[in-house]
Symmetry: C2
Subunit: 378 residues, 2 copies
């Protein structure tokens, strides 16, 4: 299989359009495409030191058209997403003479993208931003759709805004340096979008999972492109997360609580989402979801060979979920699959029942003792 | 003259509409109008202690329809517009169980409105906000158009976003408790909008200036309504401050520098804007503005009996202006009146010439020694 050409697509949003480029080697042609966006401008480049060490020359090539480049850095990881770092960056940008028509380029994973988007969105009431995601998770999800945020001690992503990027350049060659666990975490979000939105993509992921987990570029390109196209459709219909876009929170109700209870250590976001999806499948199975669908998705997630969930307390997770920002005044909202390619928002679940289900789930997340299909075959 | 009925108007913006109510006693009918917006919601009310002391019962009446009211406070004045205060408020809101469908009501002057709008705009990526402005400046200008911000040591309003309110309730009876200097500062922004956008409003302000300065409600209502209507037209054409809306920055290029050099003490924002307008008139007169227009506007501003400018250094002001966020990469932008009802954006002024003009201005801000009209009459 030869690498495909660079995919180009636009995402419309309330304030304009995001130009997206996807492909193995997408950075090289982007140099010329970004030139008019950078010409005569001050460009702030936000990255993390490990990313700069790996991809410094590619980053330098991308920024040559700017009148002036000001380099900004944050540590790698969720710890960078704080108001302290945002304030430090804003003050550096003001001291360096940043103006309303300056640009910001966020080059890194989800942390750099979330923080960079927030910093750009609030600097002088908003400057234009380009996202160059360097992880699979950021390429298929975090860099798209304008969600930006930092964390507070009371919760993750609790301060932020919608600030859509002008550009997203997803070069799958950047994924070659990723830890396999990072690829796996990104694939969870791909599976989530595929089972909700694109069953051909789901087939492809099932077929190519081993080469995807190995970071094989010819396998990754169509999967990244498929996930981006699926997310685009949702973002365009619902750019600031009314109900449609919230369907993408499948698995996230529990995942955010797992991450918070673990102190954002041990499990990656994507890994927590995988467990969140498993729990959503369990609740959906108790309602009306076809057990064969449950089993198909469980088997796919099982092939990811996730780290174990460990021992978690159901009460602590439920307390955490009810504080989550996704909760509305009228109670906790669950996204539950109702079929392949369909899900529903459910807010009237009895919490005592949810708690019992959660306790069972925590002792047997894969439902190996209770799956009707599995039972049928034993 | 009898008080007029409540004026109602809508301001369209990219994410919806702002409902505006203006009048003497506008708060009373707003109680019923706000009820559906508040029903079943947690409402955060942000105000300053002196405002609560003066208007506590009116505020309490306005919030009765909310499921739950959480009171938030900030000190009065520009010192409240910091990230430290914003973070404190976000954390209080999370601890109190704030959700995405919670509401925030900002009840106070420009500081409370700017900070409240920013806090609402970034809380969980944006919750709906209502503005109840209690100063003339906030009623005619700051509460409208979605500009929100906090300050950094490097500059005022340097961190913020556009977050349009759902409601603006401008009750001119709240102005009865204002210091006359506050009314004067607000009238400067009215004069600015009138000379750019509404010459009938300019005639009215000239005619009624003394009763306006005295806080006379029947005089204030049509002036607030006229200024709001003028600002609406600009905001709707240009909701996020491209060139059209930037015409409203008439006088602000120098004003922000004056305020910064004075450490935001001694002169109010509106007073600094009056001096900024005087300087813009001087530059415009040197280009092509009719000297009779210059003289007419100078005379009107002179009737405000502004506090003196004191001794300021031209070099410090120019250094400050070139750092201002309104500057673009390509140089300092001036808004200069070209006639009554018209102004132009000028970015190619020779800075050595501007500096000489500024030095002259600082010794003789009213141009009493150099006005061609005055010279013609001596």
């Amino acid at each position: 299989m030869t690498p495909r050409a660079i995919r180009r697509l636009k995402i419309r949003h309330p304030r304009g359009e995001t130009e997206v480029r996807i492909g193995a080697g997408a950075l090289a042609p982007a140099v010329a495409e970004l030139a008019p966006w950078l010409r005569d401008r001050t460009l702030f480049v936000l990255t993390a030191p490990p990313v700069r060490r790996l991809h410094g020359p590619a980053l330098a090539a991308l920024t040559t058209s700017a009148a002036r480049v000001v380099e900004l850095e944050v540590e790698d990881g969720e710890g960078a997403k704080t108001l302290v770092h945002a304030e430090r960056l804003w003050r550096q940008m003001l001291t360096a003479g940043g103006k309303r028509d300056s640009r910001l380029l966020a080059f890194g994973g989800g942390t750099v993208g979330d923080l960079g988007g927030f910093v750009a969105g609030c600097f002088l009431r908003g400057i234009a931003v380009a996202q160059v995601p360097t992880t699979l998770l950021a390429q298929v999800d975090a860099s798209l759709g304008g969600k930006t945020a930092v964390d507070l001690p009371e919760g993750k992503n609790t301060v932020g805004l919608f600030h859509h990027p002008d550009w997203v350049i997803a070069d799958t060659r950047l994924l070659a340096t990723l830890d396999p666990a990072e690829l796996r975490a990104g694939l969870v979000e791909v599976i989530k979008m595929a089972c909700l939105l694109d069953l051909e993509l789901l087939d492809r992921v099932e077929r190519d999972l081993e080469s995807l987990l190995a970071g094989d570029p010819p396998s990754l390109v169509p999967v990244v492109a498929g996930a981006v196209a699926a997310k685009r459709a949702v973002v365009e219909r619902d750019p600031e997360e009314g109900d449609q876009r919230r369907l993408l929170n499948l698995g996230h109700t529990l995942a955010h609580a797992i991450e918070a209870v673990l102190g954002y250590r041990r499990l990656r976001h994507g890994e927590a989402v995988a467990y969140g999806m498993l729990f959503a499948l369990r609740l959906a199975a108790r309602r009306s979801l076809d057990p064969h669908v449950v089993e198909r998705l469980r088997r796919l997630l099982a092939r990811l060979d996730l780290p174990s969930l460990g021992v978690l307390d159901a009460g602590a997770l439920i307390a955490c979920m009810t504080r989550d920002k996704k909760a509305r005044e009228r109670g906790l909202v669950w996204v539950l699959p109702s079929a392949l390619g369909a899900a529903e928002m459910v807010s009237d679940l009895d919490m005592a029942w949810v708690r019992r289900e959660l306790e069972d789930f925590l002792t047997d997340p894969w439902g190996r003792d209770s799956s009707p299909v599995a039972q049928g075959r034993t």
